[in-house]
């Protein structure tokens, strides 16, 4: 088993040792703050609303076949890499003074239920030539 502080994955451009939860993970064509995975896997309890939103992520990701205990983090990193070339959710594009947010939808099969994950990428200073940062996800469950 890979120790949580030294994540290694084929979807990384380079192997990056992680020493704290605030580290930035260098993915294949993107970056993501390590602390985001707390939100994805149900560990955020800062407010009642955020607790529910975090637990909602945990439950929906499990329904899509993504479980932290069985390589879920690495699977998400793979999805974030694939998402860069997935169809854009055009109505979600948002440009502000800090940069540009662009969402892509990655279809998923193989879990308990079919669905998708909408991944939002943030391009700082709207520089679309730079690697974006993954800022949030929205799991979608197809009934």
């Amino acid at each position: 088993m890979i120790p949580s502080e030294t994540i290694q994955c084929q979807f990384f451009q380079e192997w990056q040792p992680l020493t704290s939860s605030d580290e930035v993970i260098q993915g294949a064509g993107f970056t993501i703050k390590s602390s985001k995975f707390d939100f994805f896997f149900g560990r955020v309890t800062s407010t009642p609303t955020n607790t529910r939103r975090s637990l909602d992520n945990l439950r929906d990701l499990r329904a899509l076949g993504i479980d932290e205990a069985s390589g879920g983090k690495e699977k998400l990193l793979q999805i974030f890499a694939e998402g860069l070339n997935a169809p854009e959710v055009e109505e979600d594009r948002k440009i502000n003074e800090y940069g540009t947010n662009i969402s892509h939808k990655v279809e998923l099969r193989g879990g308990e239920k079919p669905g998708a994950i909408v991944v939002r990428y943030f391009y700082a200073e709207s520089n679309l030539g730079m690697n974006p940062q993954v800022t949030s996800i929205v799991p979608l469950i197809y009934q």
Binding site: T47, D56, Q143
Partner: protein, 167 residues
């Protein structure tokens, strides 16, 4: 006002024009009952855990409802939809401050006047956690720890430094 969870088939029977919040992959369906005169409105949203944000305007004439990436304001006198706004990111929090409706999403803060017109909006550099209200100011905390202050009267938006926060 009453909100009751209903089934998808019950939701589908509500006329489309009254399905005021609707998610393509909804897991929860509800009926908003505004009484005999105004009738029922349909709501559907993505999560079984995340709850609707609901606020009455200060004078109780407008009802604001938000969830997922949708925001609606209903006039409680006429039943008309005064605002139906798709958002580009999930709604996190909503509150009424000095008659103004403040809406926090994952990538911006929005302020609406009493009739639903947009007073102010400002992007955020990262996902926010919540906002609190101090007088005419909103203090917006980001997940990564930074905080910003927004004056709802003037729109002055500035980053707070640690000394200001602790004073």
């Amino acid at each position: 006002m009453k909100i009751e969870t209903i089934t998808k088939s019950e939701f589908d029977k509500i006329p489309g024009i009254r399905q005021i919040i609707c998610h393509e992959y909804a897991q929860t369906f509800a009926c908003l009952d505004l009484g005999e005169v105004l009738g029922c409105y349909g709501l559907s949203w993505r999560s079984q855990l995340v709850e609707l944000s609901i606020e009455h305007s200060t004078d109780k004439t407008m009802l604001w409802i938000g969830i997922d990436r949708q925001l609606v304001a209903i006039c409680l006198q006429s039943g008309r939809i005064c605002l139906a706004m798709p958002l580009t990111a999930n709604l996190i929090q909503m509150a009424i401050i000095q008659k103004i409706t403040a809406v926090l999403t994952e990538n911006e803060i929005l302020l609406f006047n009493t009739n639903g017109s947009l007073r102010f909006n400002h992007g955020l550099p990262d996902c926010p956690e919540q906002f609190s209200i101090t007088g005419n100011n909103l203090v917006i905390e980001l997940l990564e720890g930074d905080s910003f202050s927004l004056n709802v009267e003037t729109g002055q938006f500035r980053k707070l430094v640690e000394e200001v926060l602790s004073s």
